[in-house]
Amino acid sequence: MALLAEPRTALLDPMEPVPFRVRGIRDELEDTFTLELEPPNGRFEFAPGQYTMLYSFGIGEVPISVSGDASRPSRLVQTIRGVGAVTRALRNVRPGDVVGVRGPFGTPWPVDGATGRDIVFVAGGIGLAPLRPAIYRVLERRDHYGQVVVLYGARSPRELLFAEELQDWGGRFDVTVLVTVDNADRAWYGSVGVVTKLVPRAPYEPQNASAFVCGPEIMMRFAGQELESRGVAPEQIFVSMERNMKCGVGFCGHCQFATKLVCRDGPVFPFSEVARLLTVREV
């Protein structure tokens, strides 16, 4: 009797971590470091804004955005703030060790769709890391855009991520970089206060601008509102949402955000789609 099911189809397992070899570890800040990982097949293609699930053998797996340059796919570069079990374990790897990678996952920063427009990046804290690939992409094709502005806020001068690059970008005649800190020390000559305050000070034409915002949820909400009140269309403001993630591929339900699954519908969303939800408590 032809009862038994056909032999099972072999499936690619989206939950299977792929071993990448650690080629470099760089301390960025007291609690933040960058890993340079070598893909087993030599290439890791991604779009700016996408993230991976990084696995520390036997410890756990966490979502981390790619912070490297998409035009250099021979290395996967990720910048991590050690806040808990997995992120601290990842700091303890040594060159030659292996970490697990799944991905890339998620929606990108649509910088390629914003050619011809003024570009405003707004980052808070570690939020500069997920934006860096988009900044690289825009600078690589600088003549495709109008004004380019990077607004960055950190808690203190000692917590400015990628400080050298910020200086390099700020030193270019075709990029404006404005930096602010919440708490200044005596050596700090720059602005003090939240990054939202920089939004009206930067040179760009709101009606013709696209903005890319990454940082704590509360900061993205206020930055989005400020940009909108300056005249930037909410469809042209993009934010990267953060939720607990256990899978990255829509299986675990942890990244619920009202109608969205942040892992696959996001993390990057147009502000127009999330602005109202950001005003509702505990969604």
């Binding site: 009797m1 099972r8 499936l11 053998f57 607990n244 299986f251 339900g253």
Partner: protein
């Protein structure tokens, strides 16, 4: 795919034996600790023959009728989810090697035959299929797909819907919809209990053709089955008004009624554990004591726990009201956005197994009765504006 026939209890025993001989692990309803739950069965003597269940909000009790029916009850605290998506399951393991670690190929799961799948449960499996099977450019969950792919499904039409069943509101029962290999309708005749068996697949045809104890279905058999099911359809006791339910719930995220439910809800997560469609899971990591291997273990999780929404800095959904709202709006509204279907099939389990008897249909009705949405905005050209 139109094969059909009539079997009695001995015929069902033959059917179960044929499946077992065909290599299937046969799972069906059994009585354990005062409830009907799904376990491995080897024949009809394992079934709750002559038993029925009495359900109420927060209440469940078995009753012996002695009527010889093999399927005279509805759904218990478990669902087939337990087999297709095990409550605890190793989804990945690896071993340490000379230059790092590598993946260990997982063992093959059993091939299941499910006997006694109700209409709402067929629908629930279809709902989980949309989460875990491949669609478009989305990859399947191999653990679920391996269990689901070969499963043989014997459905049963519900002749006696339970007190908390609202399958007719959700369009899932009491007559089983598509997705089965075989469907049974149980009726009582002067000669005893008989089952009208109708095939729904080529495998179902093959199975029926192999049964020695089957006689052809006569018009009287079909009429009796149709009458039984028409009566059942008319008596499904519970209901839920689903009109505009997506916009109703998502348009009332700040409704005070969420607080009112939270005041009663214990946050125990029972509703999510018994629900046949709830798919949320977490993954925990295990390292072997000698450090030579590691496992990633997936287990059911619930949006009712605080840890569920934890991110560095604190959980997103701290308030009980936010967690109940998450559950209900997901089930009945945002599931449509995410998976193109309702997340609720109307099985009533969450009502029966809620220790304080919270009934989602009543909560929806309460919000509907005091809908806080502004009147539908109208554009200049007179058409309704879709928000």
């Amino acid at each position: 795919m139109t094969a059909s026939g009539v079997i009695d209890r001995a015929g069902l025993d033959e059917l179960i034996a044929a499946l077992r001989n065909g290599g299937y692990t046969t799972i069906g309803p059994t009585i354990r600790e005062g409830a009907i739950v799904y376990n491995e069965i080897s024949g009809t003597s394992d079934l709750p023959v002559g038993w029925t269940d009495q359900q109420a909000p927060g209440g469940y009790r078995l009753e012996h009728l002695g009527d010889g029916r093999m399927f005279g009850y509805v759904v218990g605290p478990q669902s087939w989810k337990r087999f297709l998506y095990p409550q605890r399951n190793v989804i990945w393991s690896g071993v340490v090697t000379a230059d790092g670690w590598e993946t260990v190929t997982p063992p093959e799961p059993p091939t299941y035959a499910f006997i006694g799948v109700r209409g709402c449960e067929l629908a629930a499996i279809a709902v989980q299929d949309r989460v875990f099977l491949a669609a478009g450019d989305r990859a399947a969950d191999p653990s679920y797909a391996a269990r689901r792919e070969g499963a043989f499904i014997v459905a049963v039409n519900c002749a006696d819907p339970g007190a908390n069943c609202f399958c007719t509101s959700m369009g899932t029962g009491p007559v089983a919809g598509p997705g089965h290999d075989l469907v049974l309708t149980e009726t009582v005749t002067d000669d005893g209990v008989v089952l009208l068996a109708e095939s729904g697949s080529a495998r179902g045809d093959a199975l029926l053709a192999s049964l020695a104890a089957m006689r052809p279905a006569e018009i009287a058999d079909r009429e009796r089955a149709a009458e039984t099911m028409a009566a059942a359809q008319a008596t499904v006791p519970h209901s839920m008004d689903t009109t505009d339910i997506h916009d109703l719930l998502l348009g009332n995220l700040e409704h005070p009624h969420w607080e009112a439910v939270a005041a009663r809800c214990l946050g125990c997560a029972n509703c999510t554990m018994v629900c046949p469609t709830c798919f949320c899971g977490t993954v925990t990591d295990e390292l072997e004591l000698d450090g030579g291997g590691a496992r990633r273990v997936r287990s059911w999780d619930s949006c009712f726990t605080l840890e569920f929404s934890y991110i560095h800095g604190g959980s997103i959904r701290q308030a009980g009201s936010a967690r109940y709202r998450q559950w209900l709006t997901h089930k009945l509204a945002s599931w449509f956005d995410q998976f193109g279907t309702s997340g609720c099939v109307g099985c009533g389990r969450c009502i029966t197994w809620c220790p304080v008897g919270i009934d989602l249909t009543a909560e929806v009705a309460a919000i509907r009765a005091s809908d806080l949405r502004p009147a539908v905005p109208v554009a200049a050209d007179g058409t309704e504006v879709n928000l």
